[in-house]
Each structure stands twice: as structure tokens, then as C-alpha cells.
């Protein structure tokens, strides 16, 4: 792989108790949401996790970002085992790993200003804000392509795509080396989606972070990922370089998934391209 090994996950298992199954003297039945997942993430790499709804993608991402405790398995960050860290010991993880969430509005506190939201990681980690809070926010907003003068606004005053950029700005505030994007573009319109994907791609090129990109839209994944892992029922059934997976799917499930993607007829596409080129 291109860069140094940032995140290494081995045999990750996460089980949830199933509500209502607990007997009087027996514990609740367990549902295995993530079942022996392993992967590596290198700097500059974008690893996409794809799979149908409920296959355990988000859970995997949360485990990797240490937002959930694992049932078993190990997580190594920068060569250090962080699997069982708790409370204050997680500061190191928080400094390295940041998350961009699916729903741009739900993930921004509606009662906080942009400035407060974007500087929150620094505040919470009790770090100095380089160049003062306002200037820092301005430069950050500028970086994600937002008007720097909007720093006193509230999330409700933004469109979905703008809000998602604020989410990205927040994640970038502390200069993370691992960025976890859990369905970061699924809630957005195609056109906005395209903007955000481009933004992420550009930022990654500048900063060289490793990106764990969760999505269920294979078409989007194809645009952004360097490698792909396909999940179903909590397991990774196929993993590899993007072109290998898309071009020559080995696993039956991957093939089904690819086949189900709706397509515009290629001949129409070709015709359009030709006309566009002519214009």
C-alpha cells in the first residue's frame, strides 16, 4: 500500500443482546452484528466498506473509531493496541481518528454556532486553537469551500451539502490521520454528493489521511475508493483493490450487488458524451 499502516483491525466481533429475548434466569440472546472483520488502513488510502443495509458497516466503523466497545478482536492504531482503552486513555484515539456522519443535520448540534461546532474537538481535547478561534474557523471554512463569514450561523441556516461540509471541517480541525466517513454522502443529492466526493478527494490528496469510507452505493464507491471490502451479514466476504473487485467480482454476493445497480443504457450515454464533446 501507499503509506504507513495507520489502522489495523483483526477479527473484530460485536454482539448485541436482542431485546425481549431475555428469560427470567437466562441472559438475552445475542445478535452478532460484526463477525470477525479484519482490515488494514494505510495513509493516503481510501478503504470503502460496502454492503446492504444492516450488514454491520456502521457498527464496524464505530468500533474502529472506538465509539463502541468490542466484544472480541483487536484494534491497533499507529501500532498501539487501543482495543480496550477507556475514558481519558482514549485521548490518543480521538486525536488521530475523526468521524464524518451520515446525516449532516443530525450530526451538528442545532444550538451551537458553526464556530462552536468546528472548534469543538479542540475544546474538548483542551488544545490551544492556533491563531484564535475565529481566524481558525475562517481558515477551516475556507478549506472546505464555505464562506468564512458564516461562522456565527446555526446549522439550520445551511443546506444539506453545506452542513456536510461543516461536518467535514469539524473532523479536519484537529488534523486527524484517520477519517471515518459513515455514509457521509448518502443523504445528499447527486449534484451535492459529487461536490463532497470531490472535496474529500482533494483534501485527502493534500493531507494524506487514511479514509475508511462507508457506503451502500456502489457507484459512489467506485468514484472514491482505492480498495473495497464487501460486507454481508457481519462478515467481509470479499476485499481487494477497487478495480479487482468491480472488474472481476469473486463472491456471489458481490456479483448480485453489482448486477442490481440500475444503469443508464450505455448507448445513450455514449451518444450524450459524443454530443457534449461536440459542443
Amino acid at each position: 500500500m501507499t503509506g504507513e499502516l495507520l489502522l489495523s483491525v483483526r477479527d473484530l466481533v460485536k454482539q448485541f443482546p436482542v431485546a425481549g429475548t431475555a428469560g427470567l434466569f437466562t441472559p438475552a440472546k445475542l445478535f452478532t452484528a460484526v463477525d470477525g472483520v479484519s482490515f488494514d488502513l494505510h495513509a493516503g488510502q481510501t478503504l470503502a466498506l460496502v454492503g446492504e443495509s444492516g450488514s454491520g458497516k456502521s457498527t464496524t466503523a464505530r468500533l474502529a473509531a472506538r465509539l463502541l466497545d468490542v466484544t472480541s478482536g483487536s484494534i491497533q492504531l499507529d501500532g498501539q493496541d487501543v482495543t480496550t482503552r477507556k475514558g481519558k486513555d482514549l485521548a490518543g484515539v480521538r486525536r488521530t481518528v475523526q468521524v464524518v456522519f451520515q446525516d449532516p443535520f443530525s450530526s451538528l448540534n442545532p444550538r451551537h454556532t458553526v464556530e462552536r461546532i468546528v472548534t469543538a474537538p479542540l475544546l474538548y481535547q483542551q488544545r490551544d486553537i492556533p491563531g484564535g478561534s475565529r481566524d481558525f474557523t475562517r481558515s477551516l471554512l475556507d478549506r472546505v469551500g464555505l464562506n468564512p463569514d458564516w461562522l456565527d450561523r446555526y446549522p439550520a441556516q445551511f443546506s444539506g451539502g453545506q452542513a456536510q461540509r461543516i461536518g467535514i471541517a469539524r473532523a479536519l480541525a484537529i488534523g486527524p490521520r484517520v477519517l471515518v466517513c459513515d455514509e457521509a454522502v448518502s443523504a445528499l443529492d447527486v449534484s451535492v454528493q459529487a461536490q463532497i466526493i470531490n472535496l474529500l478527494r482533494d483534501l485527502q490528496a493534500e493531507e494524506g489521511f487514511g479514509c475508511l469510507f462507508i457506503a451502500h452505493d456502489l457507484a459512489v464507491v467506485r468514484q472514491i475508493a482505492t480498495s473495497v471490502a464487501v460486507m454481508t451479514a457481519g462478515k467481509i466476504v470479499e476485499a481487494g483493490e477497487r478495480d479487482a473487485v468491480f472488474g472481476d467480482p469473486k463472491h456471489e454476493y458481490t456479483r448480485r450487488l453489482l448486477a442490481a445497480v440500475p444503469r443508464i443504457r450505455p448507448e445513450w450515454e455514449a451518444a450524450r458524451r459524443a454530443k457534449a464533446a461536440a459542443r
Binding site: 425481549g20 429475548t21 427470567l24
Partner: protein, 328 residues
């Protein structure tokens, strides 16, 4: 499901136990010596001591509390008087077994509570539904104004006002009289009209508001749009699709409110001279009859806790989502 039930029952028993303990403790600490009260106006210290010994009042707190608990299950003796289980104590003011006093009054309170509940549920649900489907129009404003008024007038003021207007001035209703149902059902019914109304007004107001809010919420649900898209008649859409889901939380609250009322409608019963549990409580408080106050408190707490549980179970019966979750 069984586990859930067992949990609920255990939780309920725990809460009841705590209520018992706390009430007993409070009254133990606050209460003036019951023996002095029993002894009456003219009394000697020896007689007081004797009464204390007789009633077990000279035991330490814990022993007394245990006796009380024991009495609940096995009954107990107060001097020459036997109080059979569940024994809620012995009234020192009227020298009666408290259980008897309550048994005598509970049916009256139940009549008051049931009648009022029927009234307020009908008024609240119908009013709320009308208000919701006519949102923003005259009917809605009118009903909203009524409910705000209904919630702002203290019920003792309302009770007196209604009595003055309908009984004294217009003479449409007779003065309340204690008539057993069997003797004269018509008179019996007339007697309860005012208390039912007074009790119902406050509740009906808040139920109207609640129903309105819930129905407005459900009206904006997608499934209501689906129902309309099916071409259903509006009354079917409102009744079946908007009201039914909106009623679920109302049933929950109604159960609790009703249970609360079984513990006595203190003010209404007092104002109208209805000889129910609430009046018993009010009278006992003015007489400082601690055992009775304690018993009424416990009874009311019991109803609330049991009502709460009943509502939880009912909830799973009326909401298919919960039902499936609980039985699986």
C-alpha cells in the same frame, strides 16, 4: 414476557414497600402521640402508658413498622379489637378498623371516578378530534379557549359556581343527598352529576389538548396520507387512522389518572359532601387521624402503581408493535 411481568411486579412491590416505609416514617416522626389522642381530653399519664402498651406504640420504630407490615398480611389485634388482613391500621380518632372505613367508602369513590372518567374521556376525545381536524378554524379556537378556561379555573371555584347556578338559582338539580342507588336510582344519579362534571372539566380540558396534539401529529403521518390516497371517507380516515394511534398515549395517561382518582378526589368530595375516600382523607387530616391518612395514602399509591402496570400491559395489547415485541 414472563420475565417482564415478574420484573414489573417486583418493581411495583418495591415501590409500594418504599411508600409504606416512607409514609410510616414521616408520620411516625411528625405525629403527635396517638395515645394522647385516644385518651381524650382528660387523661392521666398512667392511662396513656397503658394505651401505648396496648397498641404497641411503645415499641421502637422498626418493630412498629414490621407489625404494620405483618398486619397487612396476617391481620393484627389492637387491644380487644381484631383487624383482619389486610389490616391497614386502627383509627384512634373513631376507634374503628381502618380497612372497614375504607371498604365502606371505596365504592362511592369508584362511582365518582368512573363517572368522571367516562365523561372526560368522551368529552376530551371528541373535543380533541374535532379541534384537530378543524385546526385553526373557529371550532378549534373555540374549543381551545374552552380548554384553557377549564384548566384555569380551580375546581373548588367551579364546584361552588356550578352548585350556585344549577342548584340554588336554577334549581335544576337537587342538593346533594346521600341516597343509596337501590332506594332511588334517579335521585342517586342526579346527585352525582355535579361532582362528575366538576371533576371531569379539568381532565377533559387537558385530554382535549392532548388528543388534539396527538391527532394533529398523526394527521401528518404518512399512513394518514396513504389512507386518504386510498379514497377513504374522511370520517373513516379520522376515526380509524388518525384517532386510533393518537389514543394510545391517552389510554396510558387515562389509566393513571383514573387510578389516581380512586385514591380519592379530595376537594370535589369535600365540597359536595360525598362520603368517599377523598372526604375520608380530608376529614382524617383535619382530625389528625394518622392511621387513616396513612391508609388512604397507601391505598392511593397502590392504585397508581397497579394502574401504571395495568396500563403498561394494556399498552402492549393495544399497540401491535409492542405486543409483538413483548411476546417474542
Amino acid at each position: 414476557m414472563t420475565r417482564y411481568l415478574v420484573h414489573r411486579v417486583l418493581g411495583m412491590l418495591f415501590v409500594l414497600f418504599m411508600v409504606c416505609l416512607f409514609t410510616y416514617m414521616v408520620f411516625f416522626l411528625l405525629s403527635p402521640d396517638p395515645a394522647v389522642q385516644i385518651c381524650g381530653k382528660t387523661c392521666t399519664p398512667e392511662r396513656i402508658d397503658q394505651i401505648r402498651a396496648n397498641l404497641g406504640l411503645d415499641d421502637p420504630f422498626l418493630a412498629q413498622f414490621l407489625h404494620f407490615l405483618q398486619g397487612l398480611f396476617t391481620g393484627r389485634d389492637y387491644g380487644a379489637v381484631h383487624c383482619s388482613a389486610p389490616c391497614l391500621g386502627y383509627s384512634f380518632q373513631s376507634s374503628q378498623v381502618v380497612t372497614d372505613m375504607i371498604v365502606q367508602r371505596l365504592p362511592v369513590t369508584a362511582v365518582v371516578a368512573v363517572g368522571a372518567a367516562v365523561l372526560w374521556l368522551l368529552a376530551g376525545v371528541i373535543g380533541g378530534l374535532i379541534s384537530a381536524v378543524r385546526e385553526g378554524r373557529f371550532a378549534d379556537r373555540f374549543i381551545t379557549a374552552l380548554t384553557l378556561g377549564g384548566m384555569s379555573v380551580p375546581n373548588y371555584v367551579l364546584a361552588l359556581a356550578l352548585q350556585y347556578v344549577f342548584v340554588v338559582q336554577l334549581q335544576w338539580l337537587p342538593f346533594p343527598q346521600a341516597v343509596p342507588f337501590a332506594d332511588d336510582p334517579a335521585q342517586w344519579f342526579l346527585n352525582f352529576i355535579l361532582p362528575w362534571t366538576v371533576l371531569a372539566v379539568g381532565y377533559a380540558s387537558s385530554y382535549t389538548r392532548l388528543t388534539r396534539a396527538n391527532v394533529i401529529d398523526t394527521l401528518s403521518e404518512n399512513f394518514v396520507r396513504t389512507a386518504r390516497a386510498k379514497g377513504l371517507r374522511p370520517h373513516l380516515v379520522w376515526r380509524r387512522h388518525a384517532l386510533r394511534p393518537a389514543l394510545t398515549p391517552i389510554v396510558t395517561i387515562a389509566g393513571m389518572d383514573f387510578a389516581g382518582l380512586l385514591g380519592g378526589a379530595l376537594i370535589t368530595e369535600t365540597v359536595f359532601g360525598i362520603n368517599g375516600v377523598g372526604k375520608l382523607a380530608a376529614d382524617s387530616i383535619t382530625k389528625n387521624d394518622q392511621p387513616v391518612i396513612m391508609a388512604v395514602t397507601l391505598l392511593a399509591a397502590f392504585f397508581v402503581v397497579v394502574g401504571n402496570m395495568a396500563v403498561d400491559l394494556l399498552y402492549s395489547a393495544i399497540d401491535p408493535r409492542v405486543r409483538a415485541g413483548a411476546t417474542s
